[in-house]
């Protein structure tokens, strides 16, 4: 089975001067291609730290994080940026769209920071429009975020996460700010993406959401407490 990402004995300590906070104490797990993982745990369990490391926003204190064949823990700041741009698609709890941009422009943002700064041409623009249509916003491409509902904003951020065709999609409580109807819509989109073969890692503390995934990882005190496989990962054919 081909791995999308892999963590080996990952630790993260925060030196606060008087105390050293051990947020992660050695976590190892594999993320096969086509997996849909829910990371759960109470606050302080280390799941946010885990997500930051998986998102290449931070470097581990020790251990390895292999993404796209490279060990993220050895990269410098610029290389981490490149990694995030190229390999990772972020979906945030609070959508985090750029307010002065339209839907289409928001989807384009990751294209602005591609290595070597290639021009954004017709092909790229077509691709962004296709993504907008895919998440059901084909008729709202010129709208600004404040003109959209929460569910619609989250769809924009999903489209944005997909624009650079990432290795993994990281979703941080993607339905946390949404009502149950829109929650179902967003989960549908994520399921569709997963069934297309995309690897999704989602942090959530709602068991109802976690149940809809293929695998649940429950964290406690900086370690994986339990792992439940609900369904085997099916990589894209």
């Amino acid at each position: 089975m081909k791995l999308a990402a892999q963590v080996v004995d990952l630790t993260k300590f925060y030196d606060l001067g008087s105390v050293v906070v051990k947020a992660l104490k050695g976590v190892s797990t594999d993320f096969p291609e086509g997996d849909f993982v829910a990371i759960m745990g109470s606050s302080g369990s280390g799941k946010s730290t885990m997500l930051n490391l998986l998102g290449a926003l931070d470097r581990p204190t020790s251990g390895q994080y292999i993404l796209g064949g490279r060990d993220v823990s050895t990269l410098d700041d610029d290389e981490l940026s490149e990694m995030r741009n190229d390999m990772i698609g972020f979906i945030f709890q609070s959508f985090n769209l750029i307010s002065q941009y339209t839907v289409l422009e928001n989807i384009e943002v990751p294209l602005l920071y591609r290595a070597g700064y290639p021009a954004i041409g017709r092909v790229e623009r077509e691709w962004c429009m296709e993504l907008a249509r895919m998440v059901g916003l084909g008729d709202r491409m010129d709208h600004r975020p404040f003109q959209l509902s929460g569910g619609q904003q989250q769809r924009v951020s999903i489209a944005r996460a997909l624009v650079n065709d990432p290795q993994i999609i990281l979703a941080d409580e993607p339905t946390g700010n949404l009502d149950s109807a829109t929650e179902a819509e967003i989960m549908d989109i994520l399921h569709n993406l997963n069934s297309e073969g995309r690897t999704i890692i989602m942090v959530t503390h709602e068991p109802g959401i976690a149940k809809q995934t293929k695998r649940q990882i429950v964290m406690k005190d900086g370690l994986i407490e339990s792992e439940t496989i609900l369904q085997q990962a099916v990589p894209a054919s």
Partner: protein, 446 residues
């Protein structure tokens, strides 16, 4: 190239999000650039004005004038009630005969007299002069002729009158050929000069001259008819002055020999006037150089005042950009998460400040180009609300109202360049502090 356009476009988009704030921030730079250009234009205009005045005196001229010596000196040197001072006809002779660089010389004697024609009368300055006077003072005739050499030799009673004199004495008649009375003598009017703007006082040694109330007669005639003694009745007291010549205007053969000649003139006069310094040597070329120096100082002072406003504008930009960075911390976090390098963030914020400062500079340049019009408005305001009629005619008033700002075209790119530079300087710190933000912290920022 397309990338630069893209970055600038995105910067514009962010700035347009807060139109009022961006506009107000820009205002500081607009005024800074405007005041740099305006100040330099006024300085340039003042210098052009000074240069014009000096050139009217003639760059190759050296003017020697009689000056009333200080009171104490006169009392100790002469006991008589007649005050005797000033240039002598012998000075004129020595100067013209000994200095080879002098090509021509025009002696002048001035007295104030009442001029009469039939029932009309007015006080005028009677100038005894030679034929050269017309050219040397840039006068032109509206009718008739000016004084000639033969007028001098024959001691003819002929007069050329200035336009204002002609208008008040000859309201309905042609002045040519008419007899006017100057003092006790009658003179025939042979010519009328056109109006000429009065020359301003320069450097304190040469008072301003109003050419429009003059009557010109041959200097030899003046000497023969009026003598050297000038008796004035002033408010009951009588003063008597004995002056041979009021002024000698000497023309030097070329510009390079003006200063050495002036030096030679000073030394010559020093010897013939050993006791009192009752004359002054005015060298327009020297004044020109002084005016140049004054202009430099003027430009530096005005320029620095304007530069201060530019710096204040820059601080305004920095202030706003720091606030913007704090306000947009979340956006910075998102961009970093989506793959923006630190360099990209710096670029983004720096571009915003440069666009801000650059467009401010551009508007400032446009305003600066309108300086002459603005200044006209100021002149109008001063004329109507600040200065009342009398003070408007004073030396300072005349200088102010004659002043025409001249835009120094080099100042446009310079002022614009400074504004962009200030944009970069004031933008770099906020931009770097934005880029240094920890993406995780920035994403969590509310």
């Amino acid at each position: 190239m397309s990338r630069i356009i893209r970055i600038v476009r995105l910067a514009l988009k962010s700035l347009m999000l807060h139109k009022l704030r961006s506009g107000l921030t820009m205002l500081g730079i607009v005024f800074g650039v405007f005041s740099v250009i305006a100040m330099l234009a006024i300085g340039e205009g003042a210098s052009a004005q000074a240069q014009k005045q000096v050139l009217e005196l003639g760059a190759t001229n050296v003017i020697v004038r009689s000056v009333k010596p200080p009171h104490e000196v006169t009392q100790s040197s002469t006991r008589s009630r007649v005050l005797q001072y000033g240039l002598l006809r012998s000075d004129y002779k020595i100067l013209t005969e000994t200095l080879p660089t002098i090509t021509s010389a025009a002696p002048i004697r001035e007295v104030d007299r009442e001029i009469r024609y039939l029932k009309e009368a007015m006080n005028a300055r009677v100038v005894g002069c030679t034929a050269d006077y017309l050219d040397m003072n840039h006068l032109t005739l509206s009718q008739g002729r000016f004084l000639t050499g033969s007028d001098q030799q024959k001691l003819l009673n002929v007069a050329v009158i200035a336009n204002e004199v002609a208008n008040s004495l000859f309201k309905f008649e042609d002045p040519l050929g008419k007899s006017i009375r100057i003092g006790a003598m009658f003179y025939t009017v042979v010519g009328v000069t056109k109006d000429r703007t009065a020359s301003a006082a320069i450097g304190g040694s040469l008072s301003g001259q109003d050419y429009n109330k003059d009557v010109y007669i041959p200097i030899k005639t003046l000497q023969a008819r009026e003598g050297d003694l000038d008796i004035k009745n002033q408010a009951g007291s009588m003063t008597a002055e004995h002056i041979e010549l009021n002024q000698i205007t000497l023309r030097v053969n070329n510009k390079d020999s003006v200063l050495p000649t002036a030096q030679a003139i000073r030394e010559t006069l020093d010897q013939s006037h050993p006791r009192t310094k009752d004359y002054a040597v005015v060298v327009p070329l020297e004044l020109l150089k002084q005016a140049e120096q004054i202009r430099m100082i003027f430009n530096v002072v005005l320029g620095s005042i304007a530069a201060i406003s530019l710096v204040v504008g820059g601080i305004g930009i920095m202030n706003i950009m720091l606030a913007t960075v704090t306000e947009r911390t979340r956006e910075i976090g998102v961009r970093r998460a989506l793959g923006a390098r630190q360099r990209d963030i710096i670029e983004q914020f720096l571009t915003e400040t440069i666009v801000l400062a650059g467009s401010g500079g551009m508007i400032g340049v446009i305003f600066g180009l309108l300086t002459p019009i603005t200044f006209l408005g100021i002149q109008w305001f001063v004329q109507n609300f600040v200065m009342e009629g009398s003070s408007a005619g004073s030396e300072v008033g005349r200088m102010f109202f004659d002043l025409q700002p001249q835009i120094a075209f080099w100042s446009l790119p310079v002022a614009f360049g400074i504004s962009v530079t200030i944009g970069i300087i004031s933008g770099i710190y906020p931009a770097i502090s934005a880029a240094r933000l920890d993406p995780i912290e920035a994403l969590r920022h509310e």
